[in-house]
C-alpha cells in the first residue's frame, strides 16, 4: 500500500469544499460545547448561573465550586466532598488494571504460542464474556461477594473488574501475539528456554504498544464504570457513583457550579490519559471492535 496515498479525497468545487469545512467546524463546536459549558460554569458563583447566561464567561472568577466539590460538598449524607471517592477509584483502578493486564498478557501468550486442543473454544468463551450485559451477573455477584465478605469493599470491586476485564485484555494480547513469529519461540524452546523465560525474554520486550492499549482501555472502562460501583460499592463507592449522588441529591439548592466542577474532576483522569496517549486509545477502541 506504500504507493497509494492514504486518503480517498475526490476533486470538487471550492464551494463544496468550503461547505465541508463549515460542517466539520460546526460539529467540532457540537462536541466542545458541553465541555465549555462545564468549564465556564464551574468557575462562576452560583448566582451567575441561575440568574445569568450559561454560555457567558464568568464576571467573577472563583475556585470555590472546585474546593467545595473536592472537599466539602454533601455526598449522600456526609459533607466529605468527592475526595475520598476519588481515592476509592484510584485504589480500585490501579490493582484491577495491573492484574487484568498481566493475566491478559499470559493468556494471549498461551493461546497463540502454546496452542492445545480446544484452545479456540476457551478463547471463544472468554471473548463472548466481554459482551454480556452485566445485568445478567448482578444478582449472583451480589450473593458471592457477600459470601466472600467482600461486599461494599474496594477489593470486591477489584475482583469484579478483573473478572470482567480479562476477556478484553486476553483479546488484545492474543491478537497482538498472533502476528509474532512462532518460529522464534520454537527456536528458543530448542535452546532450552522455559515457558516463563520465553515470555519474559522474547514476548514481553515487544509488548509495549499492546500493553499501553490494554492499560488505557482497562483504565478508562473501570474508572468510568457506574453499574458495578453502584451495585457493590457500599460505603466505598467509586467516583462516578459519588458524582451521581452529588448531582441527584434532592435536598437544598442545586449548586450547578459545584456539579460541573465535580463532573470535570470525575472526567479528569481519563481525559488526561486521552490527551497524553490518545493514539493508543483509538487503537484500543478499534482493536476491541474490529477483530478481523
Amino acid at each position: 500500500m506504500s504507493a497509494v496515498t492514504q486518503d480517498t479525497a475526490v476533486s470538487m468545487g471550492r464551494v463544496t469544499r468550503a461547505l465541508i469545512y463549515l460542517l466539520l467546524l460546526l460539529f467540532a463546536l457540537f462536541y466542545l460545547l458541553p465541555l465549555y459549558v462545564m468549564g465556564v460554569n464551574s468557575v462562576k458563583p452560583l448566582a451567575e448561573i441561575t440568574g445569568g447566561n450559561m454560555m457567558a464567561l464568568p464576571e467573577v472568577w472563583t475556585l470555590d465550586p472546585w474546593r467545595s466539590a473536592w472537599s466539602t460538598a454533601q455526598i449522600g449524607v456526609e459533607p466529605t466532598g468527592l475526595k475520598p471517592y476519588f481515592l476509592n477509584s484510584i485504589l480500585m483502578v490501579v490493582p484491577a488494571v495491573v492484574i487484568s493486564t498481566i493475566m491478559g498478557a499470559l493468556n494471549g501468550y498461551i493461546l497463540t504460542k502454546w496452542r492445545f486442543r480446544g484452545d479456540t473454544w476457551v478463547f471463544g468463551l472468554m471473548l463472548f464474556s466481554c459482551f454480556i450485559p452485566f445485568q445478567i451477573v448482578l444478582i449472583p455477584m451480589a450473593v458471592v461477594l457477600g459470601k466472600l465478605g467482600l461486599a461494599g469493599s474496594v477489593p470486591g470491586l477489584v475482583l469484579v473488574h478483573v473478572v470482567y476485564g480479562i476477556g478484553f485484555t486476553t483479546l488484545y494480547f492474543r491478537n497482538y501475539y498472533a502476528t509474532f513469529p512462532t518460529e522464534l519461540v520454537r527456536a528458543a524452546q530448542i535452546d532450552g528456554a522455559g515457558f516463563f523465560q520465553i515470555f519474559w525474554r522474547i514476548l514481553l520486550p515487544v509488548s509495549g504498544p499492546i500493553a499501553v492499549v490494554s492499560i488505557i482501555w482497562q483504565f478508562t472502562n473501570i474508572w468510568n464504570d457506574f453499574l458495578f460501583g453502584a451495585s457493590f460499592g457500599g460505603t466505598n463507592q467509586p467516583m462516578t457513583v459519588a458524582l451521581n449522588n452529588l448531582v441527584q441529591s434532592s435536598t437544598g439548592v442545586k449548586e450547578y457550579n459545584v456539579h460541573f466542577a465535580g463532573a470535570i474532576l470525575a472526567a479528569l483522569p481519563t481525559l488526561l490519559v486521552y490527551i497524553v496517549a490518545g493514539r493508543y486509545f483509538v487503537r484500543g477502541l478499534m482493536a476491541g471492535s474490529v477483530k478481523g
Binding site: 458541553p34 459549558v37 454560555m55 479456540t120 445485568q135 470482567y164 462516578t240 471492535s289 474490529v290
Partner: protein, 298 residues
C-alpha cells in the same frame, strides 16, 4: 521402568505450565460468567423476592414481566433509542469520516475533538447534558437571553420527548468513535480503484454510493454490533440524564432490571428481564463473533 524415555519432571511441568497458567482465567470465566448466567436463568424461574429462593414457578415471571406496563415502556424505549442511536451515530460518523478524508487542513486538531467524549463516563456526559438541556438554566434560557423569546426546548421535562434527549447525549458520546472506525476503513481503500472510476466519468456521489460505501461493509458491521451492544447495556446515561423520568417515561430494560431486583424486591422478575437482555445481545454477538473467529482460522 522406562526412566530413560519418560520425560523428566521439568519437561513434564513445562508441558503442563501453559494450561496451569491459563486455568485461573478459564475457571473464573466459567464460574463468574457462565455459572452466573446459569444462576440468573435459574432464578428467573423461581419466586425470588428480596433474596434468592428456589421455589420453582415455571414461566410465571416471564408472563408477569410482559404484562407489566413498565417493562413494555422499557422495551418500546429501547427500540426507539437503539434504532435512532445506531442510525444517527452511523450517519454522522460516516459523514464526518468522508469529509475528514478530503485532505482537510487541521484534521489532526478536529479528530481528537470529535473523539474525546468517548473517554468520558456516561455519568459525566449525562450530568453535562442534563444541565445543558434544562430549560431553566440551559439552552432555552440562553436563547431567551440572546433575544429569541419564543424559543422552546423542554424535551427533557416532557414524557413524550425525553427519550430523544438520551439519543442526543448518546450520539454526542459515541459518534466520534464511529467516525474513527469509518476513517480507518476509508484509509484502507486502494485509491487506484477510485481513480479508475473517476476516469470512467463517475460523479463524486456515484463514486461514494457505488464503490466506497460498499467497500466499507466490514466497518458498518462492526459499528452496528458495537452500537447495538452499547445501546442495550445503556444504564448509566439514563440514570444520570433523566433518572428514568419524567415519571417512568425513559425507563430502559437496564434500569428496569435494576429497580425491580434491588429496590422493588422482585428478584425473579428482575432476573427474567436480565435473561431477555442477554438473549437479545447474544442473538447479535454470537453470529458476529463466530464469523470473525472462523474468518481468522481460514
Amino acid at each position: 521402568m522406562t526412566v530413560s524415555t519418560a520425560p523428566d519432571f521439568r519437561t513434564r511441568l513445562q508441558d503442563w505450565l501453559p494450561k496451569l497458567v491459563l486455568a485461573p482465567s478459564f475457571a473464573v470465566t466459567i464460574l463468574f460468567v457462565y455459572g452466573f448466567i446459569g444462576f440468573t436463568v435459574l432464578l428467573s424461574f423461581t419466586g425470588s423476592k428480596m433474596l434468592p429462593s428456589f421455589k420453582w414457578v415455571g414461566w410465571e415471571n416471564y408472563e408477569k414481566l410482559w404484562a407489566l406496563p413498565a417493562w413494555n415502556t422499557a422495551v418500546m424505549n429501547i427500540a426507539i433509542f437503539a434504532s435512532l442511536y445506531i442510525v444517527i451515530c452511523t450517519a454522522v460518523g460516516l459523514m464526518l469520516a468522508i469529509f475528514l478524508d478530503q485532505k482537510i487542513r487541521g484534521e489532526g486538531v478536529l479528530r481528537p475533538i470529535y473523539l474525546y467524549p468517548m473517554a468520558l463516563s456516561f455519568i459525566v456526559t449525562g450530568t453535562a447534558w442534563k444541565w445543558f438541556l434544562d430549560p431553566g438554566i440551559g439552552l432555552e434560557n440562553v436563547m431567551h437571553l440572546w433575544g429569541w423569546q419564543s424559543f422552546s426546548f423542554t424535551w427533557i421535562k416532557d414524557g413524550n420527548m425525553a427519550i430523544y434527549t438520551i439519543v442526543i447525549a448518546a450520539v454526542w458520546q459515541t459518534s466520534g468513535f464511529v467516525m474513527a472506525m469509518f476513517l480507518a476503513g476509508l484509509r484502507g481503500i486502494d485509491n487506484e480503484i477510485l481513480k479508475a472510476a473517476q476516469i470512467d466519468g463517475a460523479s463524486n456521489w456515484q463514486l461514494y454510493r457505488r464503490i466506497v460505501i460498499p467497500l466499507l461493509r466490514p466497518a458498518f458491521l462492526s459499528a452496528f454490533v458495537i452500537l447495538s451492544h452499547l445501546a442495550i447495556k445503556s444504564y448509566d446515561l439514563v440514570v444520570a440524564l433523566t433518572g428514568g423520568g419524567p415519571g417512568r417515561a425513559t425507563e430502559m430494560p437496564a434500569t428496569f432490571m435494576y429497580s425491580y431486583t434491588f429496590t422493588r424486591n422482585q428478584m425473579g422478575i428482575g432476573a427474567s428481564s436480565a435473561v431477555i437482555m442477554l438473549m437479545t445481545i447474544a442473538a447479535i454477538m454470537v453470529p458476529y463473533l463466530y464469523a470473525e473467529m472462523k474468518e481468522k482460522k481460514g
